[in-house]
């Protein structure tokens, strides 16, 4: 069964998103930074990556760009999750290769609807 990779440097956010998805029956892997996320993605090939944008070290925009350039990972859809609400940030995320944008705080119904669009 395919799983969803949740990338967020904030433990609470990671837990909340992971629990909400689990509650709806999705398999979930958690990553606290972009490096770990890319390593996990290469090893296990998730069905969807939920990517926080502003993270210390490698940020979400750069990590998405990397994933989209990697021929092995390019097919995996990436959905940006961020407290950033400016159009500029959303546009940057789209240019990096994000398929969709989820704003914080996460509303359960919204999250599940998005997840269902990418994962059977």
């Amino acid at each position: 069964m395919s799983f969803i990779l949740v990338v967020d440097d904030n433990l609470d956010n990671r837990n909340i998103i992971g629990q909400m998805l689990s509650f709806s029956g999705f398999k979930v892997e958690l990553a606290a930074d972009a490096y770990t996320a890319i390593k996990l993605a290469k090893q296990h090939r998730p069905a969807l990556i939920l990517m926080d944008l502003s993270m210390p070290g490698l940020d979400g925009w750069t990590a998405t760009e990397y994933i989209k350039r990697d021929p092995e990972l390019a097919r995996i859809p990436v959905v940006a999750v961020s407290g950033h609400v400016t159009r500029n940030d959303i546009e940057r995320a789209r240019q990096s290769g994000c398929a969709e944008f989820l704003s914080k705080p996460i509303e359960y119904e919204h999250l599940i609807a998005v997840a269902r669009r990418y994962v059977q």
Binding site: N10, N13, I16, G83, H84, N88, P105, I106, E107, Y108
Partner: protein, 554 residues
């Protein structure tokens, strides 16, 4: 004296010349007189006296012949002597003839006539008495006869003496005339010369004194002028060269006065101008200082504003992070259904309050952005019917909580407009939320119409409620920040008091208008008008889209 000095000098010279000419004429005249007298003496007196001398000699010879006639007794001698007597008589006639042409006066004529008459007596006595008597007696005692001739000869002598005397008198008279002429000429020449000298001297002295006096006035005036005193004038009345000079000087003086007054005027004007300039400079300096101060104040204000805005952005992010966690965990609890009543209700309150807190934080951040002119507008094609559907769906839960109906009206011809859909939605949600909050058991209605303001086409959204309404005196303050009707309202109805102020700012940023109509107890109508496409003037005013975006930091 209205003549040039040259004319005056010429006049003086002319007077002198006339005097000289009179003198010359007179001298010539006197000399002519003297010459006439000399000629008279030469032509008349001298020949007369010569003739008289000849006549005297002839008369003596005649008497000598009478004596010889007495002495010589022979007839031959006597006839010869008689012939000689007759020759003398004819000689005398010639003398008389000669003398007649030399006679200069009637008296001389008389004297000559007397001489001739006396001579005729002598001749007559000789021939009638002496010679016959002598012829008769031949004894030689002839002396009585000879003596008898004496009276005739005496008369003749006397007449001759008169003639000579007359001649001398005439000569003396001529000499007297010459002497008198000489005296007169000498006196006249001396007089004339003296008069000429006096006149020349008088004219020269008077003229030079006057000229000197006038020149002195000129010099004094010149000294005054060179000392810087331009007051007064020479005022020459006389029309000559000095007069002309003086008038020219007066004109120069007047011109100098005029120039000096003009110069003083200009100087005054210049000083005033300088003073004004100095004042202006001072004002400019002061203005610059004020400007610099204003600039400093502005920079300080801007820095403070930047700091505030950065602080707000950071705070909102920092506030949102735990709030997100609270909301997330609350949702997880809610999902697990493990929370029993009444805690499940408390969980609902936590979620609602958390969501409210989130909008408050967003409002505060937006307001800070607008205040700073950093509100970012994203124009796109907004489909109005879809927007209306979303708004109704979002308003419905809150409205139903207070048992309100929600109605929407949107004519079919209204389609898309170009505006910032997110901001427009934010405004309308705020208005609809307010309507739902302040209305119970009523109706909340959203009406969309096409309304043209001037040349600009636009869409009007009217949010109409049947709620508590707003007193008229509070309506003007409605769109000012932090002004809910009163604090009790704030307590009763949740809100920062920023919602309407923020809505107004956003609507204005979009180039639209917002207005309210309300009656207490009847309800309120909020009207928002938005242009169908961006208005350039609005873009450049409050949006300040060129400013760097103040986004939420990570």
């Amino acid at each position: 004296m209205r003549f040039p000095i040259r004319a005056k000098l010429l006049g003086a010279l002319a007077i002198d010349l006339i005097l000289m000419m009179v003198l010359g004429y007179f001298a010539v005249h006197q000399m002519a007189t003297m010459n006439e007298r000399a000629v008279f003496i030469e032509r008349h007196t001298i020949p007369s006296l010569d003739t008289v001398g000849d006549m005297t000699t002839a008369i003596n010879r005649y008497r000598a012949r009478q004596l010889e006639f007495l002495i010589y007794t022979n007839s031959g001698d006597r006839n010869r002597i008689l012939d000689q007597m007759r020759a003398i008589e004819s000689e005398m006639s010639g003398y008389f003839l000669t003398y007649r042409s030399l006679i200069g006066s009637p008296r001389e004529q008389e004297q000559l006539d007397a001489v001739e008459a006396a001579w005729s007596e002598v001749v007559k006595a000789n021939h009638e008495r002496f010679i016959p008597a002598v012829r008769l007696v031949s004894d030689g005692s002839v002396q009585p006869f000879y003596s008898r001739m004496n009276p005739a000869y005496d008369a003749l002598d006397q007449a001759m003496a008169g003639l000579v005397q007359e001649n001398q008198r005439q000569a003396r008279a001529s000499l007297d005339v010459v002497a008198a002429s000489y005296d007169t000429a000498r006196t006249f020449i001396m007089f004339d010369t003296v008069v000429a000298i006096i006149i020349s001297a008088a004219i020269g002295l008077v003229l030079s004194a006057r000229i000197a006096r006038r020149l002195r006035r000129l010099v004094e005036a010149t000294n005054r002028v060179s000392a810087g005193n331009f007051v007064g004038s020479i005022n020459e009345q006389i029309r000559d060269e000095i007069g002309d000079l003086a008038r020219a000087f007066d004109q120069m003086l007047a011109s100098l006065r005029h120039q000096r007054s003009e110069l003083e005027d200009r100087n005054r004007a210049l000083q005033e101008s300088l003073a004004r300039q100095a004042q202006l400079m001072e004002e400019i300096v002061r203005g610059k200082q004020a400007e610099a101060e204003a600039e400093r104040a502005r920079a300080a204000a801007e820095a403070a504003s930047q700091a505030k805005s950065a602080f707000l952005a950071t705070m909102s992010h920092e506030l949102r992070t735990p709030l997100n966690a609270i909301l997330g965990y609350a949702q997880l609890l809610h999902l697990s259904k493990s929370v029993a009543e009444p805690n499940a209700q408390y969980l609902e309150r936590i979620l609602a309050s958390g969501r409210h807190l989130l909008t408050l934080i967003s409002d505060v951040l937006d307001f800070a952005k607008i205040e700073q002119g950093a509100l970012e507008l994203e124009y796109s094609q907004v489909h109005i019917p879809t927007l209306v559907d979303e708004l109704v769906a979002m308003t419905l839960p809150l409205a139903q909580r207070h048992h309100n109906q929600v109605q929407a009206y949107c004519p079919a011809e209204i389609d898309t407009i170009e505006t910032d859909g997110r901001r427009l939605r934010q405004v309308l949600i705020n208005l609809l939320g307010n309507a739902a909050k302040f209305t119970e058991n009523g109706t909340i209605r959203l009406e969309v119409t096409s309304v043209q303001h001037g040349d600009v086409a636009g869409i009007q959204f009217a949010v109409i409620d049947t709620g508590i309404g707003i007193p008229r005196d509070k309506q003007d303050k409605l769109f000012q920040p932090f002004s809910q009707i009163d604090s009790s309202v704030t307590r009763r109805y949740e809100g920062t008091g920023l919602g309407l102020a923020l809505s107004k700012q956003i609507v204005q940023a979009l180039g639209g208008t917002i207005a309210v109509e309300s009656d207490v107890g009847v309800g309120s109508t909020f009207t928002v008008w938005i242009p169908t496409r961006p208005v350039s003037a609005v873009n450049s005013s409050s949006l300040a889209s060129k400013l760097p975006l103040v986004g939420e930091p990570a």
